[in-house]
Amino acid sequence: MNPWSSSKEAVAAPCSRCGGWRLLGPGLLWTVLFCLLPILVVLAVSFATRGTYGGVLWEFSLENYRDLLHPLYGRIFGQSLLLAGMTTGICLALGFPLAYYIARLPPRRQALLLIFIMILFWTNFLVRTYAWIFILRTEGLLNTALMQLHLISTPLDLLYSNQAVLLGLVYGYLPFMVLPLYAAIERIDPALIEAAWDLYADRWSLFRRVLIPLTKPGIIAGCVLVFIPSLGAFLTPDLLGGARSMMVGNLIQHEYLVARDWPLGSALSMLLMLIVMGSLLGYFNAQSRQAGERGER
């Protein structure tokens, strides 16, 4: 009798495949039910017609999409794209130096600054937007301070404008840009920077020829993370914007809750979704093309 023979009964090998499905199941069901399905509903409704008192008449129609071609909607979409684009650009310009600075700090200070930024990242967006109202409005902090310092005699009209919306968007999404940038910069082998320096590069060439190409994935990630939410922004233009600062988010809300034209609102949502998905596809494409270019095995 082999003294090493086991007395335990054969343990069934854990069936990783079926186990995986059973674990994923409930979560998957939930997401399908309360995320995927609703989106499909929106898609369906976008092809329907508005009922007389709001509500939906299930008659197939392409009216809504044709309505989108109306210059009014075109203007709002265009403005949203412009604002989202400018927000992304400004966040990149501000975020890159900040991320670069943090990436080169000693580890403990790095962790500290990162925690501060991440905390901001998750803090109440509504409150952060309201802070700017408090500062910028006619009786707000900035105007009061400037008047008390006798620098101006009448309060500046800063709020309720496109510029205020831009400011609010940049403020809201800057952390979304800094964090992926930091991750990309931090990953660069410091020997590469030294090698460029050793090979006579000045600061600008270092930046342009080495730093930027090596952090490209991070830059693209940051841009996507800022562009997409800015495009669909609702609160910022709603609170900080004026009558002419309407963005797609506000428009959708307006159609749904004010004009009660659900089919039109759905069509708008689908268009927004298209642009978002398009940007994401572009992002993934860029990522895989990058890896291919490097000859990464």
């Binding site: 343990v11 995986g20 994923l24 309360f34 989106i39 929106v42 998750w122 309201y130 952390p175």
Partner: protein, 255 residues
């Protein structure tokens, strides 16, 4: 390389100041004794007192807490197994599943809110606090999944094999080996989901029923209906609460 140019230091200082100044200003002025919020007229706890006695506000706060607790529990119960399941699955279908599960993260919130609203109307489910819980659970699920998966990926796969080699059943392996190692990430994710739920506005805005006011909704209506100084106090409370919770979550994760 350690010494950074003045330009960099200056820009970064400006950047951090830009990020934090508005909040600091808000908190400071919440202690302003004056009615006209922008001129400083002495330190006072007055507005916090007003908050404390505002019935409607307290009800909204209670609602927010309920929704946060319920949706976070849901999200943990669904998300942890889902993360484990996703890690185990292989094959081509995996990409599709990954995309589906992470979908809410990339959708603009307006879309989620609007889609859920339509959905509930279509299946004739009346809007209430429950619909808010459902909505929160739907868009917070990927948050938990991403964070738990990140932790799972760092886990040595041999550990589970070792456990089953030593006779442990699937449940025992999970309870005695996987769970203790994954728990900090789950806690961190739960705290994060809780915070996001407390702070959420847009989805809540679309799917809340009458009487199902949460704190962010209340703040919004307060801002829209003309500013009263309580808003500063309320905002400060919200900010400090979220900062505290997130800070806790982050510190916890670093262990």
């Amino acid at each position: 390389m350690r010494k950074q140019g003045l330009w960099l230091q200056g820009m970064s200082g400006l950047g951090m100041a830009f990020l934090y100044l508005p909040i600091i200003v808000l908190v400071v002025f919440s202690f302003n004794a004056s009615r006209l919020s922008a001129t400083w007229q002495g330190f006072s706890w007055h507005w916090y007192g007003v908050l404390w006695h505002d019935e409607a506000l307290l009800a909204a706060a209670a609602n927010s807490l309920w929704v946060a607790v319920l949706s976070t529990s849901l999200v943990v119960l669904l998300g942890v197994p889902a993360a484990m399941g996703l890690e185990r699955l292989r094959g081509r279908g995996k990409q599709v599943l990954d995309t589906i599960m992470l979908l809410p993260l990339v959708l603009p919130e307006v879309m989620m809110g609007v889609a859920l609203l339509l959905f509930f109307v279509m299946i004739q489910w009346p809007l209430s606090l429950a619909t808010v819980v459902i909505g929160h659970a739907a868009f917070n699920l990927p948050v938990v999944i991403v964070m738990v998966r990140a932790r799972l990926q760092k886990l040595d796969p041999r550990l589970e094999e070792a456990a089953s080699d030593l006779g442990a059943s699937a449940w025992q392996t999970f309870y005695r080996v996987t769970w203790p190692l994954v728990r900090p990430a789950v806690l961190g994710a739960a705290l994060l989901a809780f915070t996001i739920s407390l702070d959420d506005f847009i989805v809540t805005f679309f799917v809340a029923g009458p009487g199902a006011t949460t704190l962010p909704l209340k703040v919004y209506s307060m801002i829209k209906s003309g500013l009263s100084p309580e808003i500063n106090a309320l905002s400060s409370v919200l900010v400090l609460a979220s900062m505290g919770l997130v800070g806790l979550s982050l510190v916890h994760q670093r262990r």
